[in-house]
């Protein structure tokens, strides 16, 4: 009979949330779901914060409490390195939930159970998980209870056959974490059952009928039965690929060319798992940097999926962009690069992107556009999207081909805010990316401006909208649409007024008066 080892990392959602933000673990923090505390750490408990407490109560007891939203994905993601670390010591790890894992206890290999537990704890502390507790027992439930009674970074071993005495002494609250456990515990208290030993003395059929299948399973465990097989996982395959350069290379072209075979290997490795990659992170590490630091890293999306040539293209663009003069990139390559890593971010089964029997138009278009991107660079090909906003320029956005639009403002017709101050339709057919300087004068050449109350100082009479065009008389005009934007920002925001001006030649313009300075923003061409 194999023994079971359970590793428990208490308050895992809080640990994961703090690690995600790079905060130390001793800060009082809590994770909230539906405005109630769903998990809190020791720092918070010291102030009296408890599970199930309302948010305002928790914050009134501990004003400096770090508040995090519950993100189950984040917990699972943060637990992945822990699983991998334990898997290195002993394969066949069963993740029970984020923060709790079970494995078949290593017997003599590490020199006994306490020694193995110490090794696991040491490995986890190395990962930055300070609070981990290990329990070893004959089966899963007992081992978990043992882990919950262990000291931090320590282990609690229940000798073979000693499960029943250990469990019988536990209070009934121990089963609170089971599904529906809370109701069962409440009922047991009202029935006068104080310890699990009291429950064990009941008849099995009574327990099942009264408390449900979960407690019936605990009852069987208490009777020395109910061992369950661990649902161990297969370690996920390593899909990322990297290439090292010795000596390091400094030319973007050479690096891309040398990474070609790695890209082939990356795509082939995915294909073996019947996967294709639609989102990839490409990292280039410069010489002399430690493993943790990456010179230039970027996530790329592909409208279909990445082939080897696409990856090499992306790598080239990334390196060219990073070494070029354009600021605002994720990092710049200043030293020669000695390692390039391709890491899949999103993979999908290849069947999702399988080609149709006769090929498809879309695919042809993708290829043609990829060619243009190869000529001009990734950002040169864009697709237009509409978004919410006031000025015509705010109401549209251009998204680089293959990327998902991010940070778009919602439009009013999609249920977004109403955007008061918008110019009513028709929309101008030309929206200038960079406004032209314009000039507008009133009678006797007086400059036209908008006063504090949003009224024009004098009616516009003559204007010049195009830098190359001449002056002409105003045939009709409408406005002003005064807008005070971003006034809450420290920079002071923008206070502009928009006008529609029709010239005597019949053409219409959208002009902006920004503190007395006129700009041509769009043309009704």
């Amino acid at each position: 009979m194999s023994r079971v080892m359970v590793v428990w990392c208490p308050d895992w959602p809080v640990v994961a949330a703090l690690a995600d933000e790079g905060l130390p673990t001793h800060l009082p923090a809590a994770v909230f779901s539906a405005n109630n505390v769903s998990a809190c750490n020791d720092g918070a408990r010291r102030f009296g914060v408890r599970r199930g407490m309302r948010r305002r109560d928790a914050q009134s007891r501990c004003p400096e409490l770090k508040v995090h939203a519950a993100v189950p994905d984040r917990d699972a993601r943060a637990f992945e390195p822990v699983l991998a670390a334990v898997e290195e010591l002993r394969p066949g790890v069963a993740p029970l939930r984020p923060g709790l894992l079970a494995l078949r206890a290593p017997g003599r290999f590490y020199g006994g159970e306490p020694a193995a537990a110490a090794l696991v704890a040491e490995r986890l502390v190395g990962l930055g998980v300070w609070d981990c507790r290990v329990g070893v027992a004959d089966e899963l439930f007992t081992a978990e209870q043992a882990a919950r009674r262990a000291e931090p970074q320590d282990c609690h071993v229940i000798e073979p056959g000693a499960s029943a005495p250990f469990l019988r002494g536990l209070p009934v609250e121990a089963i609170e974490d089971l599904p529906d456990g809370r109701d069962a515990v409440s009922l047991m208290r009202r029935l006068g059952l104080r310890t699990l030993g009291d429950v064990a003395d009941l008849r099995a059929s009574d327990v099942r009928d009264r408390f449900g299948p979960q407690v019936a399973w605990v009852h069987r465990v208490l009777g020395g039965d109910g061992a369950v097989l661990l649902a161990t996982r297969t370690p996920p395959p390593e899909l990322a690929c990297h290439v090292d350069f010795e000596p390091p290379l400094d030319s973007a072209e050479t690096i891309s060319f040398s990474a070609r075979r790695t890209a082939d290997r990356f795509v082939a490795g995915l294909a073996q798992q019947r996967l294709v990659c639609t989102e990839v992170r490409i990292e280039a590490r410069a010489e002399g940097e430690s493993d943790g630091e990456v010179a230039c890293s970027r996530v790329w999306l592909h409208p279909r999926w990445f082939g080897a040539a696409d990856l090499v293209d992306r790598l080239l663009w990334q390196l060219q962009g990073a070494s070029g003069p354009t600021p605002g990139r994720t990092g710049a390559v200043r030293a020669p690069v000695d390692r390039v890593v391709f890491e899949p971010v999103t993979v999908v089964p290849e069947a999702v992107h399988a080609d149709g029997l006769w090929g498809g138009t879309e695919e042809r278009v993708e290829r043609g556009i990829a060619r243009v991107q190869g000529m001009l660079g990734h950002e040169a090909v864009v697709r237009p999207v509409l978004q919410g906003g006031r000025s015509p320029r705010d109401r549209q956005a251009f998204v680089a081909w293959g990327e998902r639009p991010a940070g778009l403002r919602p439009r009013s017709i999609d249920g977004g805010p109403p955007w008061p101050g918008t110019i009513p339709p028709p929309a101008p057919s030309r929206v200038l990316a960079d406004p032209w300087a314009a000039e507008v004068v009133g009678p006797a050449g007086r400059p036209v401006a908008v006063d504090d109350r949003g009224a024009v100082t004098c009616p516009p009479e003559r204007f010049r909208a195009e830098p190359s065009g001449g002056w002409q008389s105003v045939a009709a005009w409408a406005g002003p649409w005064p807008i005070e934007e971003l006034w809450w920002e420290a920079s002071g925001g923008r206070k502009v007024a928009r006008f529609q001006v029709v010239g005597v030649d019949g053409r219409a313009w959208l002009l902006t008066c920004d503190e007395g300075v006129w700009w041509t923003e769009a043309v009704y061409d």
């Binding site: 138009t361 042809r364 278009v365 290829r367 043609g368 556009i369 060619r371 243009v372 000529m375 001009l376 040169a380 090909v381 864009v382 697709r383 237009p384 999207v385 509409l386 015509p392 109401r395 549209q396 251009f398 081909w401 110019i423 009513p424 339709p425 028709p426 929309a427 101008p428 057919s429 030309r430 929206v431 200038l432 990316a433 024009v456 009616p459 009709a476 005009w477 409408a478 406005g479 529609q500 029709v502 019949g506 053409r507 219409a508 769009a522 043309v523 009704y524 061409d525």
Partner: protein
């Protein structure tokens, strides 16, 4: 079974028929915006010149609303909202706002894959460049719309659309806002007399259509002469 001579005759006949088909190029008609019906019919393999961004968008809207891909090259100031209002499917639109001096290569690459390319040439286009692109258009069954800065920038176009006498209504002296525009469009096809038509671009209800009454073709010819 025919004799060898009759077989050869048949082959020759078939060849001549095929050659005729190649010469005449029965060009595929592309969907055209209903407002422009009677003025211009888009055909795959032809190029068109326009002088107004909204007319270019209207020409693009025809194929786009039937699910074809369109591309816009060299137009850095396209109004996406106006395009959407005209019926352009923005999900099937590709923009290359600033191709620089590679505009010809980019246009040629996009002609290979999309149905209609709108291009604003950086200046006067040499005759031979336009000729090469026209051959490519015929081969790939795509259409090209040149958005000219000055008239005559794009030589050898099938139809040249020019706007005349735009008249906006809705704006007064500070009150109201632009609502509708009546536009006279002149379609010059080779040396034939131009066709004219008045359009609401857009009308009061923000639709784009012919202004009533639609000019009868006979009258148009009279006007032109």
């Amino acid at each position: 079974m025919g004799t060898p001579t009759s077989t050869a005759d048949t082959i020759a006949q078939l060849r001549s028929r095929m050659a005729r088909m190649h010469d005449g190029v029965p060009q595929l008609a592309l969907e055209t915006h209903p407002a422009l019906a009677g003025l211009v019919q888009l055909r795959a393999g032809s190029s068109y010149a326009v002088d107004s961004a909204s007319l270019a968008l209207a020409l693009m809207a025809g194929p786009s609303r039937t699910g074809s891909w369109c591309a816009v090259v060299g137009v850095g100031d396209s109004g996406a909202e106006a395009a959407y209002a005209l019926g352009v499917d923005l999900d099937r639109t590709v923009l290359v706002p600033d191709p620089g001096d590679q505009w010809l290569e980019v246009t040629a690459a996009l002609v290979d894959v999309v149905t209609l390319v709108v291009v604003r040439p950086p200046g006067r286009v040499p005759e031979q460049v336009a000729g090469k692109l026209a051959a490519r258009l015929r081969k790939r069954s795509a259409a090209l719309v040149a958005l000219e800065t000055r008239p005559g920038d794009w030589p050898r176009c099938e139809v040249r659309l020019t706007t005349r006498a735009p008249a906006w209504s809705g704006a007064g002296q500070g009150e109201g806002h632009l609502r509708s525009r009546r536009l006279l469009v002149e379609a010059q096809r080779g040396s034939a007399p131009p066709r004219r038509g008045a359009l609401w671009f857009p009308a009061e209800d923000q639709t784009y259509r012919r202004a009533e009454p639609a000019a009868a073709p006979a009258r148009v010819v009279e006007e032109a002469s």
